[in-house]
């Protein structure tokens, strides 16, 4: 189907954490719903309906986005990274281990989005200052921890 054709549904091809999926989706379907419901990758979460909370954060074509403000059809051909792709098999990565060591999670609901935001930060800025860490996590709401342990965890993982 020509990309400029107007349609309420289309078939998209998306690569998530290294696996390529081809699915037919409605144009109105949000990327977060596509990943959670169509691909059964329920690690990314939904915490609000106004794009404020960041629980849905994932990396799309190398860019950190809130997937509740993208349509699935906009991700056609994209390479996506979610929390499920961070560990290498059974081995947690340094950031995941640091989160646990610093008690940077309690209920764990904001954690996948928080990890993706931290991942995006450290890729771009391997040695961020305290202020840079806070700025990078500003779009991720946590109600359990108060953020202080999360800052420590990201800082420690950077070192």
């Amino acid at each position: 189907m020509a990309s400029s054709a107007v349609s309420t549904e289309r078939t998209i091809s998306v690569t998530v954490n290294g696996t390529t999926y081809e699915r037919e989706v409605e144009a109105r379907k949000l990327l977060i719903h596509f990943v959670r419901d169509d691909l059964d990758l329920t690690g990314s979460h939904i915490g609000c309906d106004t794009g404020n909370c960041g629980a849905c954060s994932m990396i799309v074509d190398g860019t950190l986005v809130k997937s509740c403000m993208m349509l699935a059809v906009q991700a056609d051909g994209a390479t996506i990274e979610t929390v499920e792709g961070l560990a290498a098999g059974d081995e947690l990565n340094a950031l995941q281990q640091s989160f646990s060591a610093h008690h940077a999670l309690q209920c764990g609901y904001c954690t996948p989005g928080m990890l993706m935001s931290a991942t995006a930060l450290l890729r771009e800025n391997p040695h961020p200052s305290d202020d840079e860490i806070k700025k990078a996590l500003q779009g991720n709401i946590c109600r359990c921890t108060g953020y202080w342990n999360i800052f420590e965890a990201v800082k420690a993982a950077a070192e």
């Binding site: 690690g43 929390v83 060591a101 309690q106 806070k134 996590l137 991720n140 921890t145 108060g146 953020y147």
Partner: protein, 821 residues
Amino acid sequence: MTTTTIAPEQVEQQQETWSGQNVPRKEDRRLVQGQGVFVDDVKRHGMGYLHFVRSPYAHAHITAIDVSKAEEHPGVYGTLTGEEVAALTDPFFQIASVPGANVKDYALAVGKVRYVGEPIVAVVAETREAARDASELVEVEYEPLAAITDARHAQDEGVPTIHEDAGGNLMWNGVYEWGDLDAAFSEADRVVKIDELHFHRFNSTPLECDGALVEYNRGTGQWTITTNNQFPGFAIIMMGPAMRVGLDKLRFVTQDIGGGFGNKITSHPQLVACCLLARKLNRPVQWTEWRTDFHLSMSHGNERWFQDTEVAVKSDGTLLGFRTKALDDAGAYLRYEPLGGVIWAQVTPGMYKWQHVRVDFTQVATNKAPVSPNRGYSRMQHLWFTERVIDIVAHELDLDPVEVRKRNYIKAADMPYTTPNGCVYDSGDYAKMLDIALDLVDYAGIGAKRADAAARGKLLGVGIGSTLDSGTNNFGQSRLINPELQFSGNNEVATVKLDIFGEIVVTLGTTPQGQGHETTAAQVVADILKCSVDDVYVRAGHDSYWNSHAGFSGTYASQFAVTGLSAVKGATEMLREEIFKLAGAIFGGVPPEALELADGGVRIKDNPEAFLPFMACGAIINANNAGLPEDLGVTLNCRYVYRPPFEVPDVERKYGNLTLTYAAQVHVAVVEIDPETGYYEVVDYAAVDDCGKRIHPQIVEGQVMGATAQALGAAVHENYVYDEDGNLLTPNFYDYHVPHALDMPPLKTGYVESASPFTPLGTKGMGEGGGAGIHAVCAAVQDALRDHGGALVWDSCNPYHRVWEMLNDPTKGARVEVVAQ
């Protein structure tokens, strides 16, 4: 950003135990990989997605409902209306005595809507989108009525009645009086009169909203409710009678819950709707609450006015007593209310030695979202009030708020301390906590900081917030609300067993939402069984089918460290006794005193080579039990019910112990106000907590931090504000600002460990004490304004515009009069 932790001097050097250590959390592995199972993650073949049609009016008669077009929409499986609900169910049990007892509350609005966002019709369809689309085709006709949004006018002549069956908007009233008010007021040197104080409406907005996936088994009449409700014990006693089914027909399953903070206790109306539809449609029904739905309809915290307060004080600042009229705004339905009308009494005098108290407590209905527990439930409102009183009295008498507190604090030597209404504070050293907190913000140097701020054009203020986190309820206090109720005491259950291969398996009755129950339970078990925490497997979450729960099971009200862990301790000690009995028999009649647990098994103390590993114990009992003594009485599957030592309170005198433990927190906030705009920042902050014996210090500190952050959000921004038509002006995260990473001040923490003499482990429940942050910020703002008009803070939420108003017009603060006697 830095956190500094001050260790207390008096804690003794511990033995090498798991308890007291920061062991890695068992929960983390799955959560950091996105492998947690939250309710919206669960899928069932053929499930239907539910969407609620919600009321656009705050108050209206429903004159017609037509679902026919919705039902014809492609993909729709069916609908449910209030009419059906009224035919299939009885109104939910009401905790209140008359008049609140007459409120009729159902799973969906019946005949009338009473708040914007109230569910009226449920639509179930093949996809989420189809349900949402079809719900727009439901036709509802309304006859709008005037709305009541101000509790102070809910009982005025001529205002609309929200629940006709209750005859008016009064839901409950009770007068509490202890000591001798007349004597106190005649002994006083001054009476400080405070016209009106207001505690605002907000909640903890857990990041995960409510939800459920409900399945109905036609053959057995059994519902399986996979949900994130945090108090299944309460949910089933509400749902069972309403649905006219036995409680065992309602199986609750939870695994990971994305925050609760009390806000996930009263989802039972929506769960009933799901249950009825699962049965009607013969398919699993899934409901996900969206953020706006949550803000509109779920669990607002108690909004409370304190009117005509009078405080009897001596010139030196000794507080003798107070009387006040507490007016509580319950919103449109009583779900867990009016328990808020008694729960504050767990902390009647706060941390202070008041002996003479009168609280005339009235709760009314309004056309706003129903109120139910929010972190600090009802105590927070009362403790904020007592802290405001301290700071206003200090201001009026020109005394130092630190000195007034120390003069009136209950002292460590007074513990255990019986309050005027018979509650027993178990332990604590409040003055010491205050000193630590003041030290952490360098209070001694505050003068220099004030001058420095002034040089930069800013007004600096320091404020203290003391708070008590009363934990482990005596549900007998409900009889002070309604003497006919048959509730009392409390309980929690744990089961610990050895499986065939000696695996140690623990099941809990609790529903953790991030408090690390799997981890702390394992620490307690490992200490008793003398094994590694890694050898203890604690099942995640809650399941009624485990039969590891009792009437009050759930995770709420600051109690796990007492109720849950005491149940774990009890079950593990039972298991240890059984292991000794079994080994004793196997070893040919060795008594338990001669045995000990070590190295993953049991051995004879004087002959360690006589060793039976747990694996052997488990195998023998489960699969190789021929020849064992007939009366051995060992199953290695031990279920223990912890029951805290409570009496039924004296309903007549409203006297008795209402909670078992009293954790404490003392916070100090330092703020800088920009006087040109009213904008302010918290520039320094200290939080000191004492929750008795800490099983996992990092988890405790995490709770203190999280509660602090929530309090800071509530103190400045978070507010459920309604217009006069009953529309919620802050219905989502866009307008209801919750703090994010850039909003956090530097935080310093400290702790004291005053073990509770009343609990098996010396622990105290904790987690709710964050109200302290609200008290501290209010006090700090007031302090900053002291030499700039001297407005007195009267509301618990002080956004920039309110601070600016108080700066410009100090009469906009609390109206206070001091009468000399």
